[in-house]
């Protein structure tokens, strides 16, 4: 699993000052985070409203990638975009899929002949519907806020690569790899403490959750030692 990311960017008539301030998430909404089957998919996503584009990103199109045209149209087009954008990111909750996995590459090896890991990922139909729903809502939000145009990137290839899953946590050894305290069901005294124990990806960046799980596992280690 990873975090499929889509992005919608509105362009407004007036300067917004959005290129000032931190680059991260300014506003978060989890209005569509929980499952509502009437939407056509399970689980949901977070909206992350980001600040405006920097001078360079304004020219090159940022994550949407629609570069300002070069030539005599350039200055006018750039002036209509710089300092006039709001970006809404949609970060979806990915589910485990049989085809999405990490295995050993049959051909690629390192300098010692050890096979390299191979990451296989294909966006699931559930995640595709989730992102499409998010893009449609983001368009509504941006237009309601006064955007004169909205452009979208349906899937950021360079974003959201938070690798999670493949060693899920659970009580049943038949359906999980580690127990509730990170211990492998099948290998004594082997702990797994990272994003691979997550059961779904959640619709938020995973670091805080991974840290909390790590502290929980560490507490269990200490308790068993004493």
């Amino acid at each position: 699993m990873f975090h499929p990311y889509a992005m919608a960017r509105g362009v407004f008539e007036r300067p917004l000052g959005g290129h000032r301030g931190p680059i991260g998430c300014s506003i978060i909404s989890q209005e569509f985070y929980e499952t509502d089957l009437s939407r056509g998919f399970v689980r949901g996503y977070s909206f992350q409203v980001a600040r405006g584009l920097s001078p360079i990103a304004s020219a090159n199109g940022g994550s949407v990638g629609d570069r300002v045209p070069w030539g005599r149209e350039h200055r006018r087009a750039y002036g209509e975009r710089f300092d006039r954008t709001i970006t809404v990111a949609i970060i979806g909750e990915d589910l485990p899929e049989p085809d999405n996995r990490v295995d050993l590459d049959p051909a690629l090896t390192d300098g010692h002949g050890i096979p390299a890991p191979r990451v296989s990922y294909r966006l699931s139909e559930n995640s595709r519907r989730m992102l499409d729903h998010g893009i449609a809502r983001a368009r509504e939000v941006l237009h309601a806020a006064g955007a004169r145009e909205v452009a979208a990137n349906p899937l950021l290839r360079a974003g959201g690569w938070h690798l999670m899953g493949t060693a899920r946590m659970g009580r049943d050894p038949a359906t999980s790899v580690v127990d509730a305290e990170g211990r492998c069901h099948d290998v004594p005294n082997l702990y797994i403490v990272d994003g691979s124990v997550m059961v779904t990806s959640a619709g938020v960046n995973p670091t805080s959750t991974i840290q909390a799980v790590a502290l929980h596992v560490a507490d269990g280690m200490i308790r068993r030692r004493s």
Binding site: G17, H19, R20, G21, Q30, E31, Y33, E34, P55, I56, S58, A59, N60, R67, V68, W70, G71, R72, H74, R75, F82, D83
Partner: protein, 150 residues
């Protein structure tokens, strides 16, 4: 064509950059502001240098096949038409040329200042954000939690 040859074609490169981002009332052409960045990138990265050199080579070839005045001596319309042909025939190399030109132009302190920003590191100066009234969140607060209970 190596990055050194790119440097040797400086005059042509300046003309190309000026065509990509022409001057207006407030901003100079990009040849004056982006040139050093484009040359630095070509020298720092063999891949970027190769792409940029290929783009310039294609422009030079296309210009040689046209009127005797060459690229710099052509009208703005002719230069843009020629560049559009190269953009179609050498998309990867031309994309690199445009991207590095934009990067160089819009990271130059003179451009930053003209955009109304202060060049240089933001910290410790920080940003001046005008105070604004908070939106009315009473309706949202009244709805209560919408997340799933664990």
């Amino acid at each position: 064509m190596t990055p050194e040859r790119l440097e040797a074609k400086r005059d042509l490169l300046i003309s190309v950059l000026d065509t990509l981002i022409p001057a207006d009332e407030e901003f100079p052409e990009s040849g004056a502001l982006a040139l050093d960045h484009v040359l630095a990138i070509a020298g720092a990265s063999a891949e970027a240098g190769s792409l940029l050199a290929r783009a310039l080579e294609a422009i030079e070839e296309a210009a040689a096949g046209g009127e005797a005045r060459g690229f710099a001596g052509s009208s703005v319309t002719q230069r843009e038409e020629l560049l559009r042909r190269v953009e179609r025939s050498h998309p990867a190399a031309f994309e690199a040329l445009v991207r590095h030109t934009y990067d160089g132009f819009y990271s130059h302190p003179a451009t930053i200042a003209r955009l109304g920003l202060e060049p240089g590191p933001v910290q410790p100066r920080g940003h001046r954000i005008e105070p604004a009234a908070l939106p009315d969140l009473a309706r949202v607060a009244a709805r209560g939690p919408i997340f799933r209970r664990a």
